[in-house]
């Protein structure tokens, strides 16, 4: 399984202070703090034996301050929960909002209308597209081309960056139009939606009706195809240079009979099959690590992976045929066990969510939009557990309510927390293969692996602080 490890493109020149190296006895200690181009503040500390080149210590250091979100929710009314918990993370705010209102709806026994369901699925698709384009093109692609960031990338590949920004804007506009705001959405509430899609300010005529707005988005989504096509073509030329290092792993994602399962489904593992969402505590077992304040999660093995790679692997047959075609063009084999298998999966999903949104918009228009008004909600005592696939993977929210609709208990299982163990296992396997390189190169490669997993460190530290791996 061990492929020769090679760096793609030149290793860019480090500015001062990206990290430091020192020696401890015979060992090399490599530190990277505040890894750039990831969401949140985190670093790596790595100790490599000078002679045997083995990884002795590997710490993913989370420098984010804890913000105690679950504690914050207790006592608050049901209509304040989603707006509060979405502030865990701006980038994942639509995902948190969806998971939160779904959990509250489960607790109160509320079923939403078909129209609401479709509109929510479109906004979930748009949020996924936004997040994936940001990560794949603006954060990861500079690595593949040996550039330090999107700013020089914009000079080297102006056309590509222009198209990526166009896609990102399309996704943001969709979120804005349906959700009322791209970050921390407004219209997504318990029981339904407060409003129908509206024209995007300074972009569409203000007098447009919701139907005209959706029609316009349908057209723009069709225009997205060639932009994505160009990105896929570029990745096809770069794909042979992506390190093919593999480690067999457990991949967990939601699975649904109805569709690709981003909005809802049951929990599915490639190791053990299906399980119901309410049983998540038995399934996604969180546990304490010695010398660590962060909980890790495990299921069937030491670690598992969630996110685009897991979803594409487990639900390949539910992908839109065009997305399946792109997967084949990119040589993406499922289930994918590659360390660098997440970004390509994200690009495949970009194709899927564009096609799926076009279908959903047609369905919405065919059925005819109905102004359902702001939903009225009768709270009751109970517990609600909901799972949702956010761009970075499986997210579970679990709330207990009293009879007045106030939170008595809350728990959230975050994708990045679930991925920490998997990330460290990947790093531990990779580092010995590149231990003969310079410290800067090793640091750079480790940062690339962290970035590839698209961690959201803000989310992972909603309660805890630091993860640590001690050999």
């Amino acid at each position: 399984m061990n492929y020769p490890w090679k760096t793609v493109g030149p290793v860019y020149h480090w500015d001062h202070g990206g990290g430091h190296t020192h020696h401890h006895g015979d060992d090399r200690i490599i530190v990277s703090h505040k890894i750039p181009r990831v969401e949140g503040h985190g670093g790596i500390k790595l100790r490599i034996g000078r002679r045997d080149r083995k990884v002795k210590d590997l710490i993913v250091d989370v420098e984010e301050s804890p913000r105690f979100f679950e504690e914050m929710l207790v006592g608050h009314r049901f209509d304040e929960i989603a707006p509060i918990i979405s502030r865990i993370c701006g980038i994942c705010s639509i995902g948190h909002t969806i998971a939160s209102i779904k959990a509250t709806e489960k607790a109160f026994g509320i079923h939403v209308s078909k129209q609401t369901l479709r509109l929510r699925k479109v906004i979930v698709n748009a949020a996924t597209l936004q997040s994936h384009v940001l990560h794949a093109v603006l954060l990861v692609l500079p690595d593949l081309l040996g550039l330090p960031s999107m700013f020089p990338l914009a000079e080297a590949q102006p056309d590509l960056v222009r198209r990526a920004l166009w896609l990102k804007k399309l996704a943001n506009d969709l979120c804005d139009s349906i959700g009322g705001r791209t970050t921390h959405p407004v219209t997504l509430v318990v029981g339904g939606m407060t409003d129908l899609p509206r024209p995007v300010e300074h972009d569409m005529p203000a007098e447009w009706l919701p139907e005209e707005v959706l029609e316009e988005f349908g057209k723009r989504l069709e225009l997205a195809r060639p932009h994505l096509g160009l990105l896929v073509d570029l990745l096809k030329t770069l794909a042979p240079g992506i390190p093919q290092f593999a480690r067999e792993r457990e991949l967990i994602a939601l699975k649904s009979d109805a569709d690709y399962g981003l909005y809802d489904g049951c929990i599915f593992s490639n190791d053990t099959g299906e399980a119901p969402v309410w049983n998540y505590l038995d399934y996604l077992r969180e546990f304490e690590v010695p010398h660590s304040t962060a909980k890790w999660a495990r299921h069937n093995r030491l670690s598992y992976q969630v996110g685009a790679q897991a979803r594409v692997s487990n639900n390949f047959d539910r992908l839109h045929p065009r997305a399946q075609e792109v997967a084949r063009e990119l040589g993406y084999v499922v289930p994918c066990h590659l360390i660098f298998g997440n970004t390509l999966a994200q690009v495949i999903e970009c194709v899927h969510v564009v096609e799926d949104s076009i279908t959903l918009i047609h369905e919405l228009l065919d059925a005819g939009l109905v102004d359902e008004g702001k939903p009225s909600v009768t709270p009751c005592e109970g517990r609600g557990v909901a799972a949702h696939e956010v761009p970075r993977g499986l997210l579970v929210h679990d709330y207990g309510y009293d009879r007045h609709g106030r939170i008595v208990s809350a728990n959230a299982v975050i994708p990045t927390s679930q991925n920490y163990g998997n990330l460290l296992e990947d790093l531990r396997l990779m580092v010995p293969l590149i231990a003969d390189r310079s410290d800067d190169e090793i640091r750079h490669e480790c940062e690339r692996v962290v970035r590839e997993k698209d961690p959201c460190i803000s989310c992972s530290v909603h309660k805890f602080l630091q993860t640590e791996f001690v050999e």
């Binding site: 990206g18 750039p36 701006g90 700013f151 009322g180 921390h184």
Partner: protein, 252 residues
């Protein structure tokens, strides 16, 4: 030489800096006008904030301060910046995390959330202005893109960023929205600073006050109005304090 702009973050959700990344159409123009020298969310070389040589013409800082290390880093950023702008509710007034009960932090110090948090000297979230002088503020949770760009434009032309001194209600009326309160809903628009173009009430969802109190807001007068909607005094205070407990939640 182009002015040097830096973007820094502390304890927050990074939603505000994401708004800068979301200015897709304007970004190329912005990059022609200024050098963005520090923007860790998207830029690799921006790492050592303690480089003695480096100074910034404009620093945008988001997030609240919760540790002594963060406070020290903030003070260093201030020393290096000509103009420092607090960006978003967390930086201006502490943000949602100010709702964390005091006893949670006590439990953290007692080690209930693990040794690392116990060792880390976490204190209740403080806005930037507790520790340093803040020149301007961009309110909101998150900030409005439009106001960010307007602030940059104002500063580049030797002007001053300007915020509306009227409430969200003024903008809501201008947009001819039906009033959320009159339709039976809960809305804080009447005491909240405008500038968001009544974003939430326009979508028929009450304002949650993320932009903080408008100058001269009569917070007391809000209580009887919202009590009619079935909210208790504590509920109203909780709502007022959601994003800006330092500005609004201490009312009454």
């Amino acid at each position: 030489m182009k002015p040097k702009v830096a973007i820094f973050d502390f304890a927050d959700c990074e939603g505000c800096e994401l708004q800068i990344g979301n200015c897709e159409e304007v970004l190329p123009l912005l990059l022609r006008l200024v050098d963005i020298v520090r923007f860790r969310l998207v830029h690799s070389t921006a790492l050592d904030e303690f480089d003695e040589q480096e100074t910034y013409n404009i620093a945008f800082v988001q997030g609240s301060i919760t540790t002594p290390e963060a406070r020290e880093r903030l003070e260093r950023i201030r020393e290096r910046s000509t103009i420092l702008i607090a960006m978003g509710a967390c930086a201006i007034s502490g943000g949602v995390q100010t709702m964390v009960p005091a006893e949670t932090l006590e439990r953290a110090h007692n080690g209930e959330f693990g040794e690392c948090i116990k060792e880390l000297d976490v204190f209740p979230p403080e806005p930037l202005s507790t520790f340093i002088q803040v020149d301007y503020s961009l309110p909101g949770c998150p900030i409005e893109k439009r106001e960010f760009l307007a602030a940059v434009a104002a500063l580049l032309s030797d002007g001053k960023p300007h915020l509306p001194e009227y409430s969200v209600c003024v903008e809501c009326r201008k947009r001819e929205n039906p009033c959320v309160v009159l339709e039976g809903g809960i809305c804080l628009g009447m005491v909240t600073r405008g500038g968001c173009l009544a974003r939430c009430p326009t979508r028929r969802e009450g304002c949650r006050g993320c932009r903080g109190a408008v100058p001269g807001a009569n917070l007391m007068a809000l209580f009887p109005i919202l009590e009619q909607k079935g909210l208790s005094e504590d509920d109203i205070r909780a709502r007022l304090g959601m994003f800006n407990s330092k500005l609004m939640g201490d009312a009454k």
